[in-house]
């Protein structure tokens, strides 16, 4: 089956700046995919190439088999992209904007029921006749998301959709997006909120300096890179060499160890006991994507 998005050897050069250095990535139908990475990693450039806003220097991207450059009409028809910038058209109200947006994609009055569903799902129903200018920041963000969904695209790309958005909207938004994902829409999101990616996404790609440095299911990534973390308050001591490799972080007497599995707790504690180091406090944490993120991004910098 053709993948929802196939990215092959994408390079992008802006003068001397090599923003993307050969990105390969396959996103399957029905995936809920998170594209993560620090600022300047190239996530938005990659999404802009996918959207046709930026031309790649080399490589190709196809959406459900349609090349985004050569068959841009078919490719764009399948894509719904939420831009990162909070942009709006001050001349029109929310419903008008959604109708226009659907119209650009060839959808007519038969699409109105879907527009209503989007308005309802994003909590915009009572703002349908409000001019875009008069909406609050959070409401503008919802309208921006609604616009991307107006033509009911099978592949939905959300570039930082929850930046500066309150908790209520975030929950509402994710409920709606999860529902779309259950109905078969492929979802790709970039976000700075790693816990969002962790709870929502089945697969994660991590970008750094224009490359994908990790790509796996969320569960695998968590297991592979982070496992569990053990925080011990030990005071100003020198660690025995045997547990030194497990140390990830040390800050004013608090030592954080990365554990692959639970049996290592016993090992750490026994080594400390033999070295006569007293444990003042102990905390065991489940690893999260932030740990993965830090260990990967930190490791290679």
């Amino acid at each position: 089956m053709t993948p929802a998005i196939q990215i092959t050897g994408i390079h992008k050069q802006y003068g001397s700046l090599h923003a993307l250095k050969g990105v390969d990535l396959t996103i399957h139908h029905g995936d809920f995919f998170a594209l993560l990475g620090p600022n300047g990693a190239g996530k938005s450039t990659l999404i802009n190439i996918l959207a046709g806003l930026v031309k790649p220097s080399a490589g190709s991207i196809s959406v459900m088999g349609f090349d985004v450059v050569k068959q841009y009409q078919q490719a764009r028809q399948l894509l719904g992209i939420v831009p990162q910038e909070l942009v709006f058209d001050p001349f029109f109200n929310v419903r008008e904007m959604l109708r226009f947006q659907a119209g650009y994609f060839g959808r007519g009055p038969e699409n109105d029921a879907w527009v209503d569903e989007v308005l309802e799902g994003l909590g915009l129903a009572d703002k349908a006749k409000t001019n875009m200018r008069q909406l609050s920041g959070g409401m503008k963000r919802r309208a921006l998301i609604a616009q991307a969904l107006a033509h009911k695209p099978p592949v939905i790309i959300l570039d930082e959709p929850t930046a500066g958005v309150d908790v209520e909207l975030r929950q509402m938004l994710w409920e709606f997006i999860k529902k779309l994902n259950r109905e078969g829409h492929t979802i790709v999101l970039t976000t700075h909120y790693l816990e969002e990616a962790e709870t929502l996404c089945s697969r994660v790609g991590l970008m750094k300096q224009g490359k994908i440095i990790a790509l796996d299911s969320t569960a695998n990534l968590l297991n592979k890179f982070a496992g569990k973390s053990l925080r011990l308050t030990l005071g100003g001591v020198t660690l025995p060499a045997s547990i030194e490799p497990m140390l990830r972080n040390q800050e004013s007497g608090i030592f954080t160890f990365a554990l692959q599995d639970m049996t290592q707790i016993e090992f750490v504690l026994s080594v400390l006991r033999e070295a006569n180091i007293k444990v003042q406090d102990m905390q065991l944490n489940e690893a999260d994507l932030e740990d993965v993120f830090l260990s990967l991004v930190g490791k290679q910098s």
């Binding site: 959207a51 930026v54 078919q74 058209d89 650009y104 060839g106």
Partner: protein, 272 residues
């Protein structure tokens, strides 16, 4: 059999794409029309009033002092020029201001993300500009009818020059709107190109009244041919033959269309 089926599927898809494309184009045109209609006081009433002020002041000051065509009152002579000047300025303003606003606000992205082709994009902005020019021009004509009884020697030529003139300036507005990054650059276009060319095109005088050197210079001004040909449609008299004017205006339009389509196709300043 399978190739035939495949062929049919692609044909169906092609037809659907075409229908969708037509609706896409129509939607963009509708949006562009609504955009200026929502602020009709600014986009239509204001230029009509400006033209009316020119008419009142210039006809009062210059009637009897400026030599125009035999048997045609100065006020009557002035009106077609004012109508055409307003058509041209407003056609330019429509496409250029819409594009620069969308670019500065960032909402141009809503159109760039769609399957609309560069031809559809061009056609929607072009036709909206022509319609804006017509609405303003017709508004001035309606008001001017109160003052002067205008003859209509050749209505088809009037319409032809109005369409070609507004199309030319609408296209020029698209070029300016795509090229400019800021509002003041559009204002510079208006103040340093559109205004001088339209004021020096023979709106307020017949270029036959000018010294030979300035007559020659006027012949280099494309606006002159639009005004002169448009005026011929009303009086059946002009400084140069309307066929020459129509050809020059038509040719200039084609050159600008070529440049604009090149810009749009390459994604100049719109897609990086």
């Amino acid at each position: 059999m399978i190739t035939k089926l495949k062929h049919m599927v692609f044909l169906k898809m092609g037809q659907a794409m075409q229908a969708a494309g037509l609706r896409g184009f129509w939607t963009l045109l509708k949006k562009e029309l609504l955009r200026f209609w929502r602020v009709v006081f600014q986009t239509v009433a204001a230029p009509v009033i400006t033209a009316l002020l020119y008419l009142l002041i210039f006809s009062h000051v210059l009637a009897g002092r400026v030599e125009v065509y035999d048997g045609i009152a100065y006020t009557a002579f002035l009106i077609p020029g004012l109508i055409m000047m307003s058509i041209l300025q407003n056609a330019f303003a429509n496409s250029s201001s819409s594009l620069i606003q969308s670019k500065v606000m960032g909402n141009i992205v809503f159109v760039l993300l769609t399957p609309l082709t560069h031809l559809q994009f061009f056609a929607a902005f072009l036709i909206a500009s022509i319609i804006r020019g017509f609405v303003v021009g017709f508004g001035i004509y309606l008001v001017a009818m109160w003052f002067v009884d205008l003859s209509l020697a050749n209505p088809w030529l009037i319409v032809a020059f109005a369409i070609l003139g507004s199309a030319l300036l609408g296209t020029f507005g698209i070029i300016a709107g795509i090229w400019a990054d800021r509002f003041d650059q559009i204002a510079a276009f208006q103040n340093f190109i559109i205004m001088p060319l339209s004021f020096l095109s023979g709106v307020f005088y017949s270029i036959h009244s000018l010294p030979p050197f300035w007559q020659k210079v006027s012949h280099l001004n494309p606006f002159f041919y639009m005004i002169d040909g448009f005026r011929y449609g009303f009086f059946g008299k002009s400084d140069v033959s309307p066929v020459v004017s129509l050809s020059i205006v038509g040719l200039s339009f084609l050159v600008l269309v070529f440049i604009t389509l090149k810009m749009l196709k390459s994604g100049y300043k719109l897609r990086s």
